[in-house]
Amino acid sequence: MSTSVDTAIDRFTARAAEEGMLDVAYTRADSPFGPLLLAKTKRGLVRVGLPNQDTDELLVDLAERVSPRVLEAPQALDEARRELDLYFEGKLDSFDLPLDWRLSGGFRQRVLRAINRIPYGQTRSYTEMARKAGNERAVRAAGTACGSNPIPLVVPCHRVLRTGGALGGYGGGLPMKEALLQLEGVLDESPAS
């Protein structure tokens, strides 16, 4: 009977999508750093949960802030998963995924959009990001925007460093930030900081 329930659930999810009720589709994806959570809306990728983040909390947050119609629908995220796999293999330097920015507003969203334009293998400072977002003096706020990035990896906040080159912070932990910068050829295997 559990098989028939599983099949019924799969069919239900497909029908929910057909009827336009799949407000938030999510799946878990493997990465070299551990499991990721990927979530998208009809507009695009809305959330990437890093391995050190609590998946259940992220889903509850999406239910509250986007829509409670949150369903596990791996197929809806096939393309995101494919591009991330290629990225981790060093075979993709630019994501081509529609993004849903709604989880960040105002200045934060402007900072994140500016970050989204930093090319692969390059870095910028928090100060530059603050300036690009329209307020050069709001360096701390730019740092907060990076820290609260709802779509890490795809929106490459790991490419933002302190002025002078110190790593700064990372939501997924500094070792992950270092590893990503090594992957992109920005850092040597043993970084100075």
């Binding site: 028939s4 019924a8 659930i9 069919r11 239900f12 029908r15 889903l59 409670p68």
Partner: protein, 155 residues
């Protein structure tokens, strides 16, 4: 007001119970369809649900409405069932009878749900109360009124 959990949680927590109850109410063949109808209706209504404290009861109520619709749509065709009920008659109510189900379908919502939950799924009064979001006393009363009305209509 309790915040609404992600719908996937509702699905994971209650899919088995809903399927089991539908197996009992409409048999194996109809259960899958009723399951889809139940959860699609639930998902449609979900964002506007005001009270998330009894999601199981809410789903079971929808499931029973769908089971009644199913019986009604089938009209007088015989219903294939996985298991034939041992007790064909209980409290003067035949177990599976289309005319009866049609009459059940015509009851006021709470009475209809109480009767369906009691005789379709064999739920005790306490669970019927949970499903309807009322006291066991009120559940008993709804069941009693529903049965009284059915006896009158089918007499």
């Amino acid at each position: 007001m309790t915040a609404l959990p992600p719908f996937q949680t509702v699905l994971d927590d209650h899919a088995k119970a809903v399927m089991a109850i539908l197996h009992g109410a409409v048999g194996r063949d109809g259960a899958e369809d009723c399951f889809q109808e139940t959860f699609l209706a639930a998902l449609r209504a979900y964002p506007k649900l005001e009270d998330a404290s009894n999601l199981r009861g809410w789903l079971l109520t929808i499931a029973h409405r769908k089971a009644i619709d199913h019986h009604r749509a089938r009209g007088r065709n015989p219903v294939p069932v996985a298991e034939v009920a041992e007790v064909a008659v209980e409290d003067g109510i035949p177990a599976r009878d289309e005319q009866l189900w049609a009459a059940v379908g015509g009851l006021p919502p709470k009475q209809r749900a109480a009767v369906a939950l009691r005789y379709g799924s064999d739920l005790p009064h306490s669970e019927i109360a949970a499903a309807l979001g009322c006291s066991p006393e009120a559940a008993r009363r709804n069941l009693h009124e529903g049965l009284k009305r059915l006896r009158k209509e089918l007499a």
